[in-house]
């Protein structure tokens, strides 16, 4: 076999592996969506373009701690993982047991926590994490009631370092619904800075919220 062939075969092999992995991701996503429609807020896993935006808040230097809320099949996780320097920690808090199993199998570098984002501080404390540099959420905020949203946000704020970032995403059309506007108001009341960014290269387009500087001063021991 020539070097050229070898190169081509390894590329083909990688493409096949990627395709199988992707298929597995879609299958897990669909199975979970069918079994737990209330838990899955997304119609499709999100695209690399979405990951490229959220991963901007991930520091590429130092030893940052990044927590994903509701990573699902992990469609944002690779983009985040690629940016993280050695010594960083990357945790994913996933409510769905099947999704958590899928993540553990396919993304061994991700610290998967099968649990509720509403218990975030306790879940992180169990793993020795007290401070987080970025909380990246892809949970379906529109399916969670006001009290539930507030509870998760309060805990995210509690673990964030002073200059840490919190991100959330929603489908662009959904951001204009009553629930979407209420969520935007909740973010505005929680953070000093709430920026938005739109990813058009996704079906449907995604609206990102990138939030910083919690307004309520957090008491840290």
């Amino acid at each position: 076999m020539t070097a050229h062939q070898d190169h081509r075969d390894s590329r083909l092999g990688r493409t096949v592996r990627d395709a199988v992995g992707k298929f597995d991701e879609y299958r897990t996503f669909l199975t979970s969506a069918v079994h737990n429609p209330r838990m899955m807020g997304a119609a499709t896993p999100t695209s690399p373009a979405v990951a490229a935006v959220v991963s901007q808040v991930v520091p590429t230097t130092g030893e940052p701690v990044v927590v994903e809320l509701g990573p699902g099949t992990g469609s944002l996780s690779d983009g985040i993982h690629r940016r993280l320097p050695p010594g960083a920690r990357h945790l994913g808090v996933e409510l769905g047991a099947e999704l958590a199993t899928h993540l553990r199998r396919n993304k061994p570098w991700l610290e998967v926590v099968n649990g509720d984002a509403g218990e975030l501080t306790a879940l992180l404390a169990d793993r020795g994490v007290e401070r987080v540099d970025a909380v990246i959420s892809s949970i379906p905020w529109s399916l969670i009631d006001d009290a539930g949203q507030r509870r998760i946000l309060d805990q995210a704020v509690e673990v964030l370092v002073p200059h840490g970032a919190f991100t959330a995403l929603t489908y662009l059309p959904a951001s204009r619904s009553v629930g979407g506007k209420r969520f935007r108001e909740l973010l505005g009341g929680t953070f000093d800075e709430v920026l938005t960014s739109v990813t058009w290269l996704n079906a449907p387009p995604i609206l990102h919220y990138i939030c910083r500087r919690p307004l309520r001063p957090q008491e840290k021991p």
């Binding site: 935006v53 901007q56 520091p59 590429t60 002073p162 800075e193 938005t196 960014s197 739109v198």
Partner: protein
Amino acid sequence: MSIAAKLREYRTFATRALREPATFGAVLPTSRYVAEAVAEVVPSTGTPTVLELGPGTGPLSDALRARIPDGSRHLAVEIDRGMVDYLRRAKPWLEVVEGDAAHLRTLLDEAGVRSVDAVISSLPWTLLPPGEQRALLDEIARVLDPNGVFTTVTYLTTLWRVRTREFVGALDEVFDEVLPRSAVWRNVPPARVYACRRPLTPAR
């Protein structure tokens, strides 16, 4: 702002734009929607130091001033003498520094400013050659607080121009975080604001 004041602002802008077309990147002064979007990256608590680069007639200055708490410092580096005179007259609360942003570190040393929490640029980046773009960005990275933010206004109409793409490439080289924010459509031309953090090459 009164209508008369607004008219004075437009007249200053138009006069300067006609006299010095090479230093002007904008067609019209920036709208208040852009101003509000830009102001959001500035901390509304504590006493931040905020620096505007190329404020022109100051369309962003009022929104920034409305946002920052008392005791903060609000500076503006402007190269055009006519604009400097106008700003000093119309916005006495603004610390106007006449000079070239290329010598930012020196200008700030003279003003007694060590580091800046938010740098807001309205400089016409796409009129600058890549070498100058990069040199200016490095100079900005040098004065920015490690947790500070650099924000700049570009226009959607120039999005596909080589100079714009080069500029965005330079942003990626200088900053760890480069966030292209949602477009502001209510501006002529529609604006794209970038928010950048964590300089990668602080060269302090």
